[in-house]
Amino acid sequence: MVAGLGLRRSGRRNVLFFAGAAAIVLWSAGPFLWQLSTSFQLDRALVSPTPSLIPHPFILQHYLNIFSVKHFQFYVLNSCIVAAATTSLCLGLGAAAAYALARLKLRRRFGLLGLILSVSMFPQIAIVGPLYLLASSLGLLDTYVVLVIIYLALGLPLVIWVLFGYFQTIPEELDEAARIDGAGPLRILLLVIVPLSVPCLVTTGLIAFIAAWNEFMFALAMTSTIAHQTVPVGIANFTNLYYVPWGDIAAASVVVTLPLVLLVLFFQRRIIEGLTQGAVKE
């Protein structure tokens, strides 16, 4: 329907299309595949004059290194804790706020929504200084709590925006029916809206999780020991004194990226819908 122009596609056009599609896939996945291959290669093979995509010999040394020498598992654990806590709080608070904005009689709801969204657009470096001083005076430096508090606020605007859009597609008659049965807003949210929004909540949660998992600057500023540093800080600090351990870095990259890539590939359709909703609507 949309592809009106492509109805009579000639053979040559088809070839062009596949070439273009192949170029996009190569562009998007190529560098990561090279990283994957690097992680299985000997340091010696990596500096040879002719690089090879197929690891030969195939080794797991770099993976052993990052866990046994560099204690990468601690960073991964920290990141899991912080990102999981952030995601659940984001979804809880975000769902409440999105429901209030989407359904309840609230004056200037679009003004409020705009205000919430605009918060996510200022340069984050502008808040890191005052937040550091505040966290320091509250004794929260180098804790999970401070990271979760910050990531929650950074993640909420997008979560609210995506959930707001989804909640508006749920027929309003459903909560009116529950209201007539005597349910208050909180019960309607929990018993009517949330069960109907599970797919959207899962993907929104995934988006929030990825954002928290990937955040670097605040983690760098607020944490200082391996007890609370997250994966990006760990990887950024992956340097040896005399040479760059590209193989180890590649192995760590694969460990932290592969789960995300698999999740994203699995949920791709919904993630794209959620992320592009703003562009389509207005």
Binding site: V2, A3, G4, L5, F17, A21, I24, V25, S28, A29, P31, F32, Q35, V47, P51, A96, A97, Y99, A100, L101, K105, L106, L112, I116, V119, P123, Q124, I125, A126, I127, G129, P130, Y132, L134, I149, L152, A153, L156, I160, P171, E173, E176, L189, N214, F216, M217, A221, V231, P232, I235, A236, W246, I249, S253, V256, L260, V264, Q268, I272, V280
Partner: protein, 315 residues
């Protein structure tokens, strides 16, 4: 389904009772549901922004424990600070070039993907990989790809005889910022494409069909139908991209740390170093505020363009 309809009917029949319950429970539930969000955003975003403005009027230094009100002094220092203006210029250059490249490449990808072909879902899925990858990982990955000695890019260019010897991509002041632009374009162009694809898909097929019947080729259909229809979305997406590019931190900090010879120092990295290496919180806050002002100006420019294009579309 019929129960829903019945419930809907019941509501329309009994508006007075409903209006009464509304007025009795004045707006408390929505406000209570919004309260946690307000507290979160208020304490982590609004308060620090105001705090930063206040700090920027002080000579706060964590190292010397100084903390005196100095008025506009920091801003006067800043106006005469060559490091600031150099970082400001790098940031604007980076923002302009990467936003433009990402928009053009993203549009190209989107125009390809809007046509159906077998395996399109797979291509769209692959495009999410750069988006999902942590920026720090992207940084390290490009550090390896563009390595001055054993990097794959140097090897490929040498094999194609495009370059004679290795290029020290991010180790030389001439090419470092360009390398960072390439890494940023890699990471965000596919995402831009997905946004624009969503926009392209809202253009009714009948319009394109009409253009085709009038004898327009694909090229004309693009310039006459698709691009004008897409302009507002294109501008909105470019604005978000530009605002995001302007605050670039991770890529620079991890790949070059602002070097070599400050050639990639951008406002975020300069501010970060002023705050956390020099521990000059007063001056660092002035830098952040200047950055804020520039970002607001960028948003304003795009806002005017967007309003203009929307008005033209309505006509």
């Amino acid at each position: 389904m019929s129960r829903v309809a019945a419930a809907g009917g019941a509501i329309t029949r009994a508006p007075p009772a409903f209006a009464i319950t509304r007025t009795r429970r004045i707006d408390w539930p929505p406000l209570l549901l919004l309260l946690p969000t307000a507290i979160s955003l208020g304490s982590v975003c609004v308060y620090p922004i105001l705090g930063g403005l206040w700090l920027s009027l002080h000579n706060t230094m964590l190292a010397t424990r100084e903390n005196r009100f100095v008025g506009w002094l920091n801003y006067r220092t800043l106006a005469a600070d060559p490091d600031f203006w150099s970082a400001w210029r790098h940031t604007l250059e980076f923002t302009a070039v990467s936003t433009l490249a990402e928009t053009v490449i993203g549009l190209g990808m989107a125009l390809l993907l809007v046509e159906w072909f077998p395996g399109r879902g797979l291509v769209r899925a692959a495009m999410l990989i750069p988006w999902a990858m942590p920026t720090v990982v992207t940084s390290k990955m490009f550090g390896w790809l563009f390595d001055g000695q054993n990097g794959l890019v140097n090897w490929m260019l040498r094999s194609l005889h495009l370059i004679g010897g290795n290029i020290d991509w991010y180790g030389s002041p001439n090419t470092a910022l360009g390398t960072i632009v390439i890494a940023d374009v890699w990471k965000t162009a596919p995402f831009m494409a997905l946004l624009l694809l969503a926009g392209l898909q809202t253009i009714p097929g009948s319009l394109l069909e009409a253009a085709r019947i009038d004898g327009a080729g694909a090229w004309q259909a693009f310039w006459r139908v698709r691009l004008p229809m897409l302009t507002p979305i294109l501008l909105i997406a470019a604005m978000f991209r530009a605002l995001d590019a302007f605050r670039i931190f991770d890529l620079v900090y991890v790949l070059t740390g602002g070097g070599p010879a400050d050639s990639t120092e951008v406002l975020s990295t300069l501010t970060y170093k002023t705050l956390f290496s020099a521990l000059e919180f007063g001056y660092g806050s002035a830098l952040a505020t200047a950055m804020f002002a520039t970002e607001a100006a960028i948003a304003l420019c795009f806002g005017i363009l967007i309003a203009h294009s929307l008005r033209r579309q309505e006509r």
